[in-house]
Symmetry: C2
Subunit: 407 residues, 2 copies
């Protein structure tokens, strides 16, 4: 496994240098898959492992003994028929990543990233985050026997800190906003030599390639017409594209999916770049949104590469308003039985919108990734006062209450 | 599939009568597995399905088209080595049911129960509960296109209602305590003809047999020496025992596991019955406990059958104090990377205690089921005020903060 600059081609002589000294670009992990052939595909598909590690050869980890796994991956790929009918997309699939071990898609990144940390001999893993990444890094670090440091900005609600704290992370609340916390984080990485679990780490960025392999397996080799992914930093889109291109290079698939980045209107720099034909991402000021987990104004590390992937795939990007996102969250739960956080359901909102706009055709094979558990952000669900009002314990009162609901 | 009284042998002529008119016992589903043979085992094990439905023939659902699945089952069976070392049990496995679709083991029951509801033509599924069962019934009903009614006692915290509400359940808060809500529920079942999703339903009780089949698969045919299960109503223990006995009858295994019911000291009627040699469960008044999901004082429907299973398996039962339960929750998260609600980690507390008492030997193969997600009850995790105090955004302040934590 080498680390190479995607801009200038420089190859790092070190396994722990993550950035190009000339271009400042995040390096890319180069995994040798050239040796793999058709018979090896058969061998891989016969493995009983139902985790991302079934595809071990595709990840930048040298020794199987370094693997830190909590059983992540091979999440359900469901066909919710009522939801499909409502959206007018007959071949609609949802990939339910809410059931990953710590409750979000970040586990795909961190099983690879933390395994590599173990292989490289690090003792402490770190991240700056206000949500899912913090919990995931803490969970995998715990499983690996590493310490973890989670930095969050002041004002982060204690409920978001709970999960990382439960796994034993050292949580550091930093005075100031997210930008200030991030600046201190970068300085601390250098100062203390922690292992970086942000998307500035080329190894962890490989983890989401697992989407491509799993969809390939779960769709029996068929390639979706569209994959829609809730997008903040852009690593998911970038990695799916890399994964599918590996399968194409090997001759295991004969076409590629079109990729769609779904963002909140309140933080949609990738959508802006796609629609304005920009060559790179321009930062925006992220406003508040119900889609908290994807509230990122400047996806500096990987946004540009996500943009390239979207263009190369003939895909697109779409921004959703909060009410569209909450409606999608509700449809997914009420018609599909999947309880996602609002950010996790943005892909469903995007599918609805793009079908209505005629960009997605009714017969297209569409996969929406669902990226975070509803219990991560329970406040997003509103229960009416009427619903919470106690009724007397008799059948007459119960009947009245049910009739009220029926209206 | 027939329904038969386990006490008097009466066979119900109806598929929707759940109780014996003479004995008042909950009937038992009799699934015809006699026809299955060794070659069929090979066939089952070659199925690619990674859900409980891989074992379709073992469940009381006649037609595959009735199946309502959210991809439940085949949850990770992990070997957390640091936790194993701490507990002094070298062959320790944990079965992580926190990653089931609605976040608890209830999904094993409800995928079977709600599939049967669909097959039988019901329109509305109901349950009385304050926690995991409500969310699970609501989630599966949503996926099935059924209405759901969830009744909860007054005083139930709104956060517990959120998940069921998100799936579209009609939540009815009943004035009074749980017993009063349960009385109204029973009356309402009769009055409105809802489908009953409590353990008074023989079909849903079959769902947890899936533990036996999955462990058989995941342990490559080996049978654990001990299975430890957080226990409230007793269906889990009962169903595991039934599942393993089916495998024994078919000759697919040659021995049976010893079963251990783990309860909270605050609600331990099964422990009392085991240790006092009672022939049936005597009700206790359940006190408050951190293990909210297993706070049941009188497991009337299935407790007696769990007791029989424990005795027949040469197993035992153990009661844990709240501090032991919280310690186990913390060990599981910090050493194993699994975040469970306190009730979900009671099995780990029991493993520790029984190893210390010499009942579990250091080399025994032990499986602890982990039955509910930590995000179901985030308040159980305490974060110190010190940890929440913001630090100035500079390296000097950060260093001080980290040193403080280091002490």
């Amino acid at each position: 496994v080498k680390l190479r600059c995607p801009k200038c081609g420089w190859e790092s002589p070190s396994k722990t240098t993550f950035q190009c000294p000339a271009c400042a670009a995040v390096l890319e992990a180069v995994v040798e898959i050239g040796r793999l052939s058709k018979p090896q595909l058969t061998e891989i598909r016969q493995r009983t492992e139902q985790t991302v590690w079934r595809w071990f050869e595709f990840f930048p980890v040298e020794e199987r003994s370094a693997i830190v796994s909590l059983g992540e991956g091979y999440t359900p790929l469901l066909q919710p028929s009522s939801l499909a009918a409502r959206l007018g997309i007959s071949r609609l699939y949802v990939k339910n990543d809410t059931v990953l071990p710590t409750g979000s898609l970040k586990d795909r990144s961190n099983t690879v990233g933390i395994s590599k940390a173990k292989e490289l001999g690090y003792k402490t893993a770190a991240v700056v985050s206000t949500g899912n990444a913090a919990a995931s890094v803490a969970g995998y670090a715990a499983a690996a026997g590493l310490k973890s440091i989670v930095m969050v900005p002041e004002g982060t609600s204690p409920s978001k800190i709970v999960q990382a704290g439960a796994y034993g992370a050292t949580v550091v609340v930093v005075k100031g906003d997210f930008e200030e916390a991030a600046r201190l984080y970068k300085a601390a990485l250098k100062e203390f030599g922690w292992y970086d679990c942000l998307s500035t780490n080329p190894y962890r960025n490989e983890g989401k390639k697992s989407y491509a392999y799993e969809l390939f397996d779960q769709l029996s080799g068929r390639v979706p017409d569209w994959i829609i992914h809730p997008t903040a930093g852009g690593t998911g889109i970038y990695a799916m594209w890399k994964g599918y291109n590996e399968l194409l290079t090997l001759g295991w698939v004969d076409r590629l999916p079109r990729l769609i980045a779904a963002q909140s209107e309140a933080a949609a720099p990738i959508v802006a770049a796609v629609h304005r034909g920009l060559s790179d991402i321009e930062p925006v000021v992220a406003r508040d949104t119900v889609a908290e987990s994807i509230q990122v104004g400047y996806p500096k590390s990987m946004g540009g590469r996500a943009l390239e992937a979207i263009r190369a795939s003939h895909g697109t990007a779409v921004a959703l308003a909060d009410d569209e996102i909450l409606e999608a969250q509700s449809l997914l739960a009420r018609l599909g039985g999947i309880f996602a956080e609002p950010a996790g359901a943005v892909s469903v909102a995007a599918a609805k919108k793009l079908q209505e706009q005629g960009i997605i055709a009714p017969g297209d094979l569409v996969v929406c990734t669902i990226t975070g558990h509803g219990l991560k952000q329970p406040d997003a669900v509103k229960i009416s006062d009427e619903e919470l009002r106690p009724v007397p314990a008799n059948l007459g009162a119960l009947r009245k209450r049910l009739e009220l609901k029926g209206k």
